[in-house]
Symmetry: C2
Subunit: 296 residues, 2 copies
């Protein structure tokens, strides 16, 4: 037997570089299998979350859990774990993996059943899957190049679902253009990025798209807004255009794994970098909060 | 060892009720497993097809294969099987399953890799999955009740992707309303149904939505149009409204597994059933073609 593929659930030492979990089974991610008939596999019929883990602390876990259960309700997936039980399991998984900075991913699908569009029989249980892996912590000095693309996603972008093909295609298009993220817009009105929210600063006011069915209610988005308000920076949550983005003093991309990143190029043209004082104050406030909450 | 779960690839008798295939491994569907890191599982990053099989004949297989390879191109999935090799494998799978009427499902995902939105390294191979299962042949005397729902799907409905959460939710809403299908519309302009195309007859002319990014180019849709033309029935492929649908003489729902079904109710109001002669001529022509092509 190949020991490297042996289940490690009796291994209490933190020797794993990564770890997968599926309905009670634990092993290295590459060794993990799921049933062919999991509805995640042929319908993308599930909800997910990603958290950043530093020094064993799952950052903003309560916020992620709240959004996760909200999303399960939105798509009517009945998941029997209490928030407390899921939290304990996620924490246990994180503790089994070595390393000071990790990504924690989990998803719940509507269950395993013969393929049929309608929901399976209520006796079918939801499936819980978790992946913990190594991740470099975000750096303050990252600078993003952006491209713009039409937002072709479905009209419930507030739901963090497993239907991510448009996000995949947009992310790949950004990469092929030598960029880091794609700014998605519907007829010139900006929604967000392929896997991030988007902000801009103009005359020391922070602007971002409003919470509705067109964007994800990002945890980092909410945190950055709270930081701005604490700093006395006015925040406007309202629809904005690509043209306004081009005229911005600063452009900020937020996500769980990259936190808040400054952008300096849009469709190969120079943008932003015109209000370093306000940008730095905001970013410092955000990173300070992150460091305080993830202290060892 | 539980014999019912033993791989059957050495079993040459047609004793299986259903069969799954994944990258060369064959077993009963319930026993099949796929890697956790298949991109189908967390992104829905793949393309699928469903065919109807009668008397061992895979109906309209060439058409399905052509659409399948077109779709792979649209999402830039590199799949190394030639059309001929895939065809032979699908035929072989069908021959291993007993029963005179079957469903044949297959999907190809972008491969197995650590979760990241951008495409994996080109050395990562696409994954091929097949499921063959029992299916009752469609009947001519089926009658559908329909509900109407806003079409919230992504703006590339021409791509038969694994991102089917909106279709799942619409199908479930239809079921909960005591209906068989959901008619999806954008601001009153009808696109298609949750897993079918939609036609109506008015003054002996056959109407359906045009082929564009808002509907799937259904194989049954194309066949019904061809039948109509052979019968001398004029066909108009143009956008139409819910109001026009309500005033129709006949409403016809087409799909691979149900073929062409007559509808008689829309949002609990009686519709259609006003031109049985033309409807029956069309349906008979379609079923005749099906029966001719799937003769033993």
């Amino acid at each position: 037997m190949d020991e490297s593929h042996a289940p490690d659930h009796q291994n209490e030492g933190k020797t794993m570089k990564n770890l997968g979990y599926y309905n009670g089974v634990i092993d290295q991610i590459d060794a993990m299998r799921i049933p062919m008939n999991d509805r995640s596999n042929y319908f993308g019929d599930g909800i997910y979350e990603v958290c950043l883990v530093a020094n064993g602390v799952i950052f903003a876990l309560e916020d992620h859990l709240n959004r996760f259960y909200d999303n399960l309700d939105k798509v009517q997936i009945h998941f029997t774990y209490s928030k407390q039980a899921l939290k304990a399991l996620l924490q246990d998984m994180v503790e089994r993996v070595e390393g000071t900075s990790l990504s924690l991913y989990w998803q719940v699908s509507r269950g395993t059943a013969k393929r049929s569009h309608v929901f399976p029989d209520p006796s079918v249980n939801a499936n819980l899957m978790i992946m913990v892996d190594q991740l470099n912590l975000p750096r303050k000095d990252m600078l993003y190049k952006l491209i713009t693309l039409p937002d072709i996603r479905f009209l419930r972008c507030d739901i963090k679902s497993l239907n991510l093909l448009p996000n995949v295609l947009a992310s790949q298009a950004a990469k092929e253009a030598g960029c880091d993220e794609a700014v998605l817009h519907r007829n010139g009105i900006v929604s967000e990025c392929a896997h991030s929210n988007l902000f801009y600063l103009k005359d020391q006011v922070l602007y971002t798209a409003p919470l509705n069915h067109l964007i994800l209610p990002g945890i980092t988005r909410a945190r950055l807004i709270a930081c701005a308000k604490r700093l006395g920076i006015a925040v406007v949550e309202a629809p904005f255009t690509l043209e306004e983005l081009k005229q911005a003093d600063e452009v900020i991309v937020t996500s769980t794994t990259k936190q808040c990143v400054r952008a300096f190029e849009l469709d190969k043209e120079a943008i932003a970098l015109r209000d370093p004082v306000t940008f730095t104050a905001l970013q410092d406030a955000f990173f300070h909060e992150f460091e305080e909450e993830t202290k060892q």
